[in-house]
Structure formats: structure tokens, C-alpha cells
Amino acid sequence: MVMRAFDLVSAETADQAVALLAEHGSEAMILAGGTDMLVDLKHDKHRPAVVVDISRAGDLKGIEITDEGLRIGALVTHTEIMKSPIVQENFPAMVHAAHTIGAVQTRNLGTLGGNLVTCVPSMDSGPTLMALDAEVAVAGPDGRRRMTLDEFFVGPRKTTLKENELLVDILIPKKNVGKPVDFLKFGLRKGQALALVNAASSFWVDWDKNAFVEPRISLGAVAPTVIRVPEAEAYLDGREITPDATAEAARLAVEAAKPISDFRASAEYRRDLIAVLTRRTLENAYDLAKAKR
């Protein structure tokens, strides 16, 4: 497939990328790993006059624990997440989520930032991060702003990112570093398959009462964006951890979701998956909590 002509400029730093976006205005688009962008360009979905390649911007890389929490640069690839000792130690669910994306070649190119900005409802990096109250930092001509993923995601392929803004990093707040979390994806194959439904659950445990503390449930591919399920979270908060409680949370999750029927699966089938994945992620997160205790 032939792409329309554009100019290609390379940004070596985040600041340079922001400056290039300011210079070229609405004519410009960011290119990271290209696994969404090149497909869209080939299908003539975007017509940028200038493509700003950030794939060499070293300051957008890196995974580190800072005073604020676990910081992941927007340019970190899915493979780098899988191989990061910090992520492996604190959030095996993120390693698993990254592993479910596409196949080796795509994971080597595709970045976490690109996955979040593309903002398809079935994105596999979203639920785990949302269940951990992750925030994104974006940089524009007027400086930087931070927001939660709830605020960042607007609709299918739509975020609050403005034309002249760059996604810089993703932060899991300090208080949630090490919080037990589990992610599950159901696709039709192990490789190269988008999620019919994906889900993540996270909570701390009050061991005296064996109760849920700060529970979070997040679902993908069942609404216009990745969503949280506040009804199920409110139900679980402070409640004793029992099979009945997790079953009721799963029922509430099914009620809150608005899955559609498409060529991959019917809404009915997706509702069954929501119940099963919600329950299993809660159970697995509990097992993880017990193992960490």
C-alpha cells in the first residue's frame, strides 16, 4: 500500500517534539512505534503534512521508581515492559497484559504511549493501569499537565490530548506500587487477536477482617473506552472476601457494561465473559495478596 507524501522530522527529546508540534500545528502528527500509525497512514485515515518521529527521544524511555511512584516513559515498548525487573517484581499483571498484545514483532515496536493514545476500547494496557489509578503526563506549549486515565480516555480513538500535545509518561502512584492486581484477556487465539473482553482487578486486603480495601475493577472492549466499574467497587469496599461477594461484584460489572455485538462476538457472549473475567481477576488478585503477605 502506498502512503501519501509527508515530511519526516526526528525529535531527539520530548522538548524538541513539543517544539516541532508547535511549529507545524495541526499539520503534524507524532510517530512512535508506528504499529497503529503506519497502518492508519496506509489506509489513508490520517493526512499529516509532517510526521514527527519520536522513536529516538531517549528521555521518553525508561522505567523507574521515583518519589511519586512507578514512572514508565511513553516510548517504552510492550517488550520492554515484559522484560523490566521493576515491573516483573511489582506488577506481574502488567507483564502478562503486555504479553497478550499482538505478537513478538509488534510488541518490539509498539509503545505503551501509542497504545493509550490510539485509545481503542480493546487496548490491553488500559485495564491494569486503570485499576492502579495510573495517571498520564502530557506536555504542550503551556507546560505539563497530569490526569488520570479516566480523564484521558474520551471515546473510541479519542483522548483529551490536544493536537499540539505529547504524552510524556505514565505514573502509577506511590501508594499503589505493589498493590495486588490481576489482568485477564479473552481473545480467539493466543497471538494476533484483539480482546473480546479484558479485565483487571486490584485491591488491598484488611487481614483482620479479611476484607476488600480500595477495590478497583476495570474492563475493556465492553464500552466506548476502557472503563472502571464504580458500582462493583463500592459494593466490595470494606466487605469480607467471599465467593458470594466476588460473584455479586461480577454481576454488577455485567450490569454496568455496555458491550456490543460485532463480527468477533455477540453482546450476550461478552456479558458472560465479563462475569467470568471479573470473578477470576478478583480471585487471582486475592491469591497474589496472600502470596505477598
Binding site: 510526521v51 513478538v104 514483532q105 509488534t106 515496536l109 497471538g191
Partner: protein, 162 residues
């Protein structure tokens, strides 16, 4: 036009191409390395898989400009004067391919796997090849060939029962 230069199979190569040219197109149409195949052109099939700085990627999803200064290995870089690469030899011995179109991508993916993991399990091999679609074979003989090549590369003989 942009000038791009990169190392391809150990040689410095340069080309002057429109900025919207993919790495795959430069390899095939400017450097005449037609081993890497154009299948789907959108990241699904893996026929275009090449190593960039040792890492397997879809050459159809990378711009030539993004490969500037990088070290590229294609299927043409595997055999040398002494003969075929152990993976190529094992694929031939077991007749692992049928039409062969997926072969260059599969072998490049397998090479990347064996460099990282000299003793992969069947599941490891399946995972490493999950981005390489084959319409002919059903994969069984490819997986056996990767196991054979791994044994050879570890200095064992290919038919030592695992």
C-alpha cells in the same frame, strides 16, 4: 527525498527515498534484497520480519528513516560461504516449508529466539512464531526444525532425542 543509510547484513547501504517509504520497500526495491516478503503490509503476517539492532520487527511498519544508522539483518544475511545457517539447514532437512513464502520471516523470528534462549520449549517456540502466519504447513515441522537447529547450535547432534 531523504537520504537513509544503514548497515544491512554487515554492509553499509544508502538510498535516497521519499520519507513515506517503509524499511521493507527500501530493502526490496533499493537494495534488491527480496528475501523479506510483502504479505499483508499491516503487521499481521510477519512475512516481512527482519532484525533491527538484533530485535525482530515488522519491516512493513517501520519507516526507512526510522532505520537510519541501525543494524539490519535479513534472511540474505544468514548463509555464508561455509554454508547455510543451522536453522536454514534444519528447515531443509525436515522439509519444514511448503510454498516457502512465510519462510524468511519465520527463520528470522526463530534466529532471534535462539539468540536469546538457546534451549526453548515448544511453547517458547510457538510464542516466538505467533507473529508469523503460515498458510501451508500447520507449523509442526517448523517447530521441530527450530528444536533441531537449537541442538546443533548448542553443539549437540540434531537427532539426540529430547
Amino acid at each position: 527525498m531523504t537520504d537513509v543509510s544503514m548497515t544491512v547484513n554487515g554492509e553499509e547501504r544508502t538510498a535516497s527515498v521519499p520519507p513515506e517509504t517503509t524499511l521493507l520497500t527500501v530493502l526490496r526495491e533499493n537494495f534488491f534484497l527480496t528475501g523479506s516478503k510483502l504479505g499483508c503490509d499491516v503487521g499481521d503476517c510477519g512475512a516481512c520480519t527482519v532484525l533491527v539492532d538484533g530485535i525482530p520487527v515488522n519491516a512493513c511498519l517501520m519507516l526507512a528513516g526510522q532505520a537510519e544508522g541501525r543494524d539490519i539483518v535479513t534472511i540474505e544475511g544468514l548463509a555464508n560461504q561455509d554454508g547455510m545457517h543451522p536453522l536454514q539447514q534444519a528447515f531443509e532437512n525436515l522439509a519444514s516449508l511448503q510454498c516457502g513464502f512465510c519462510g524468511p520471516g519465520v527463520i528470522i523470528s526463530a534466529k532471534a529466539l535462539l539468540e536469546e534462549n538457546p534451549d526453548p520449549s515448544v511453547d517458547d517456540i510457538r510464542d516466538a512464531l505467533s507473529g508469523n502466519l503460515c498458510r501451508c504447513t500447520g507449523y509442526t515441522k517448523m517447530i521441530e526444525a527450530v528444536q533441531d537447529a537449537a541442538r546443533i547450535m548448542r553443539g549437540e547432534s540434531a537427532d539426540e532425542a529430547a
